[in-house]
Symmetry: C2
């Protein structure tokens, strides 16, 4: 029996939100269906931000409603504030992601409040979620952005990451997400920070969200795996490149992540061949968006499927 | 004091040999000079193959002779057979690299002999080198190609890798190189095989040669680092892409490797800014060759140099 590893698609939110070209709702739904058919069981479907601020995600309710109809899919949505959490609760998403930045400067640039104020906001989201009956309460993930460095402040203090993780865990998070928002992370720091945070928030799961901006995305996943993490975000074709760094990739490529985990002997439940096929569908909807990825170009190693089957049978 | 890690440039051999367009000798020399000025201290400069077989490297003697004039540079050359070893010895290279494939099928396709016959060839190379006075004897590295999989045979038995490594060590190798020739390697196997081989050939150093064909190059470096390896091959801009997989990168990108090692706190002795500048020189000489790399696009993290200086001073 292979050990399970969990991969969450975030391209529909993190990827799309940086694009000016709006993807029609029916194409988002086709994308959802195709990834679900490929075996993806966790998808961050949209964000409950004010539609005027982010027209790309103005169809959040419609897309989330369709996602909720897909059997076995854990549907998550980003919520920036209490208003977003109310929308998420009302529609019944399975998981709500709240994000604050460890870097004070980044948090202020992003949401015009201090990190401490954002932690207070998170407490209010927790309190709101706890007004729902327990069996209808969404899982609450608190993401710590810029956990491995910040374009504004440079280095981020590792002890501060640990302290904030413990604080939001005590405030009621069901999971912690450590995010290398700007691609500053390096494996030694990633393993160290994951180990410290995981030890201090146990038994809460700690997920990894890495960007491949400087080429270390999968090495950072490996570092987090070595620390014991088993849940990772990624996006189809690495969708989500930073608009300020042309040619620099954004999220790690979900196809390559699924390949790495599968090759290492983990069971992701995802059919890699079918996942790779989804690229064409997204390419037709977004022809000008560059898709990254190595496995799509090089193909799987010879006998890969047979080796996978043998591992699964052991 | 930071721990030392060793990076060897192999683009001038492994990279150039796959190109049809011949790089003039003076441009190879300019490339050598520029990398040496950037602090690179190990370069595989050429290969002593018959000039008719590989016109690209017909100037091996001239390039090696220039390389030998650069202070502090360890000059290595690939030698395919005894004749090549004679040329390497005659000119006085510091290091001779002999490569055989762990995969029987790959070895036969490559050099039309069995792996056992190639090990016998290696013994003859050892014997030849031992005819030189001890202070003029080149370091002899035996590379084990397809150590992590093979396009012909698929999976490669890990115990066979270990056994062959021990055999060539006992035959007189000064170092072992484990090569993921076709980019089939994955971190779990890499760490496992490095640990086994390093334990059994100690105190010989074991170096890593990874291709980034399937995006796992730097993750595989990290896995080998975790096993204790400290020497890695790489090439400028990832030069050396497989001609049979368009768009698939070849060697890991030396700039990104130097970034990862430096960010992790290792001292490579290489000035990353100056190394990145060498790309332009090679681009002018080989304008049609695609150069890969993430750090060149994204730039270094904010305060990176200050953090490096602080680590060095600790």
């Amino acid at each position: 029996m292979r050990e399970r590893a969990f991969v969450r698609e975030v391209g529909m939110r993190d990827g799309l939100q940086s694009l000016a070209e709006i993807m029609p709702t029916e194409q988002k739904i086709a994308w959802l269906d195709a990834e679900h058919a490929a075996g993806v069981r966790e998808i961050e479907v949209s964000s409950f931000v004010p539609p005027k601020l982010l027209p790309q995600l103005a169809d959040a309710e419609a897309v989330v409603r369709h996602a909720l109809s897909l059997p076995g899919l854990t549907v998550s949505a980003l919520i920036p504030n209490l208003k977003g959490a109310e929308r998420g609760l009302a529609i019944g998403v399975h998981e709500i992601n709240f994000v604050l930045s460890v870097s004070e400067g980044h948090n202020r640039a992003n949401v015009r409040r201090s990190t401490t104020e954002s932690i207070e906001d998170f407490r209010r989201v927790v309190a709101l979620c706890h007004t729902a009956p327990e069996d209808q309460r969404p899982r609450l993930t608190c993401g710590l952005a810029t956990a491995f460095g910040c374009t504004i402040e440079g280095a981020v203090d590792e002890e501060r990451v640990r302290r904030i993780a413990v604080e939001v865990a005590e405030a009621g998070a069901d999971a912690i997400m450590l995010a290398d928002t700007v691609g500053y992370g390096q494996p030694a720091a990633v393993e160290r920070v994951f180990r410290r945070v995981m030890a201090d928030v146990a038994p809460l799961p700690v997920c990894g969200h890495f960007h491949d901006t400087r080429g270390l995305g999968l090495a950072n996943v490996l570092a987090a795996l070595n620390a014991g993490a088993r849940s990772f975000d990624a996006s189809l074709g690495g969708l989500g490149g930073c608009p300020y760094a042309p040619g620099a990739t954004g999220n790690i490529v979900i196809e390559d992540l699924v390949f790495m985990l599968g090759a290492m002997g983990f069971d992701t439940g995802i059919d890699l061949d079918r996942l790779v096929e989804v690229r064409e569908l997204v390419h037709q909807a977004l022809p000008d968006v560059v898709q990254y990825g190595a496995i799509v170009k090089a193909g799987l190693p010879k006998n890969f499927h047979a080796m996978q089957a043998a591992q699964a049978a052991q």
